[in-house]
Symmetry: C2
Subunit: 395 residues, 2 copies
């Protein structure tokens, strides 16, 4: 039985990972779970999976967990870690083969890095890891021989399409994008879109931050940067194709003009299972994709006028170093401010552009360097917003 | 320089093979060409490619070729063979690595078999070869270690989709079908369709026989049988999906529910080049596929009521032995009679069904056995038609 550790076990990816492990009866054991402050769910996970180590965000949650486990009469008490240090202990826990990296935000960087250093397979769902620290992560993986397998549907699809191909014979990686809720909106409508409108995603149900990223199409921009690191592809080799039905999860174009696409249901358990069982495939506990039920598949070029975030991400990737970290941090702060109704939807790309322009990229030589750039960008954008940021101030 | 031989050099596949060889400057040499009676074109091919051996259908064509070559002052005179024997000499010509099997009809069987016996790679475009003699061909290839690479777009697509996958992890092969000109016609309209209507194919330009096969959807039935032999898949593992745009050339479904599809332009040079250069891919002299220009991709289940040929082919595959040879021969004679306006479109499946019902399948133990079944079916159907076959006589 292969042992796994989950960083972010109470989140959406974490919960679905446990469903997959459950469906693959007996093939995987759960050695360690890292969570935040959702002690209630973590308690039930410990009760069911009996990990030998768990980690929570703080001491208070740790005490609550001990209490809950005692209350429920759970005999096997796991070792309990706290904070990022606890997550690192989960990621490096003895005997673990695969680490699912699904912690949201910068907290996931160090534990993921530690797992890669140890040569463990990392099934990566944390979006920031490669955007912020792609060079460090891939270098660590290369050095230790660790496999880095993408869990989000687009990169997982690319991984599947690339299975039988030689890297030098791949001409383009084509990330498909749903186009988000504003695909058919005018520039003006997008400029003044409300949080309620931005959160109405057509195909995928996800958290608020990611859903807004989908509305700005920054999610694709970030995915371009991730694809660069995962598949050693330059910005020029990565394209975006709007595909509202989200059935083709991504595709590759070969030098001979052939296109290989991966299609599937929009259920993250597929990619999770793929990353766990690779290079094998296992029967999945999912409804099959019935193409005859879909009506039609459409493909459009993305509109750079309406979705300036895409070009911002390409620019950050081309400038390199700490620039993608700044892009990502500026985006996070701007999206949060938008959800708080402090700025307009159209201000999101303006704030990101301004932050990137104000930043002089440095070589991403250490996690400290990229995290410093991340912090700088957060402070910079927050200050901008506090100082009565309005669209007029930069336009 | 790798040497190739082309069986059927003056046909559509043959001519396109030479265009591909031309575009791949210097990578392939043309050692031998097998043609029929189109001496004019063959003369020009000899002039350009300087094969050391050619073959024509009969003595008269051979004499004409010698005369033409002398007239044009072509110094290097190739060895000239005649008939099926000549084709066999082309297929087994010394130093040839890859044989393109593109002769139409049963004449292609023996030369293809000889090439496979010798362990040569066969790029197969002859539709009959595997339908009529799939067991013999694949057994010969297995014994000698010969590679059998499909050149038609659907099987070539399947081959591409299967590259990175383990056979046991493949759940289904999904052959896409344009649906032909009668996709949206009523059963009554199809019953009485004219040759002119049947020859109006929506996406591919092909010969008359194949175009009618597309209108009856027997082409897909035959492709199901081919796929069975090429990929060692049972009838239950092969499905047909109507896809009017013919952009996805075929797909596979894996056990985990993932679908891998191959998409490309509708130009046979792609598959020809793939079969020549496999396992490598080379830049192609073809326009790229622009998915944003296509509008939409649609997928439908085939209608068994309107296209009974599909079920007839599945039945023949399941019954096995000489039955697919009978299906194929009966279809050929029926299609020719339809093009001659001797029978109605709706009679095609009726004649095929009647021939299959009249046949007791034997083990396909030798080429003689399958060719005898083929001859029997041709005679049987021809006689039926001569004896005033009408729809009323079986309905």
């Amino acid at each position: 039985m292969k042992q796994i550790a989950i960083l972010g076990s109470t989140g959406s990816i974490g919960r679905n990972t446990l469903r997959v492990v459950d469906a693959l009866k007996g093939e995987f054991g759960v050695a360690a779970l890292g969570a935040g402050a959702n002690v209630e769910l973590l308690t039930r996970q410990v009760e069911q999976w009996r990990p030998r180590m768990v980690s929570v965000s703080d001491e208070e949650s740790a005490e609550k967990l001990i209490y809950e486990l005692k209350q429920r009469g759970v005999a096997s008490r796991p070792v309990i870690g706290v904070g990022v240090e606890g997550l690192c202990e989960v990621a490096t826990f003895d005997g673990v083969e695969t680490v699912i990296g699904a912690v949201v935000g910068a907290r996931g960087l160090l534990p993921t890095y530690r797992a890669l250093e140890l040569g463990r397979r990392v099934a990566l769902a944390n979006k920031e890891t490669l955007v912020v620290a792609g060079e460090l992560m891939t270098r660590a993986a290369e050095k230790s021989g660790a496999e880095l397998l993408p869990v989000d549907s687009e990169h997982n699809a690319l991984h599947q399409c690339l299975r039988g191909e030689k890297r030098r014979e791949v001409k383009r990686l084509i990330l498909t994008a749903s186009g988000g809720p504003f695909r058919n909106s005018s520039k003006e409508e997008i400029e003044n879109a409300t949080p309620a409108q931005a959160l109405r995603h057509p195909t995928w149900r996800m958290g608020a931050k990611i859903t807004v990223d989908s509305a700005t199409m920054m999610n694709k921009g970030l995915e371009v940067i991730e694809a660069h690191w995962l598949f050693n592809a330059s910005a020029d080799e990565i394209d975006i194709l709007v595909h509202p039905q989200s059935v083709a999860h991504s595709m590759i174009e070969l030098v001979d003009g052939s296109i290989i696409a991966q299609l599937g249901v929009t259920d993250m358990r597929h990619a999770i299972q793929y990353a766990l069982t690779y290079p094998e495939r296992r029967p999945a506990d999912l409804p099959p994709l019935d193409l005859t039920m879909l009506g039609k598949l459409e493909f459009f070029a993305p509109d750079p006028e309406k979705f300036p975030c895409v070009a911002l991400a390409y620019d950050a990737l081309r400038r390199g170093g700490t620039m993608p970290a700044v892009l990502n941090a500026a985006n996070e702060v701007a999206v949060a401010a938008f959800l708080d109704e402090k700025i307009r939807f159209g201000d999101i790309p303006r704030l990101i552009r301004a932050a990137c322009e104000a930043h002089t990229p440095q070589t991403a030589s250490s996690l400290d360097t990229v995290l410093a750039a991340d912090r700088w960008a957060r402070d910079w954008v927050e200050q901008k917003i506090t100082c009565q940021w309005t669209a007029a101030s930069v336009n």
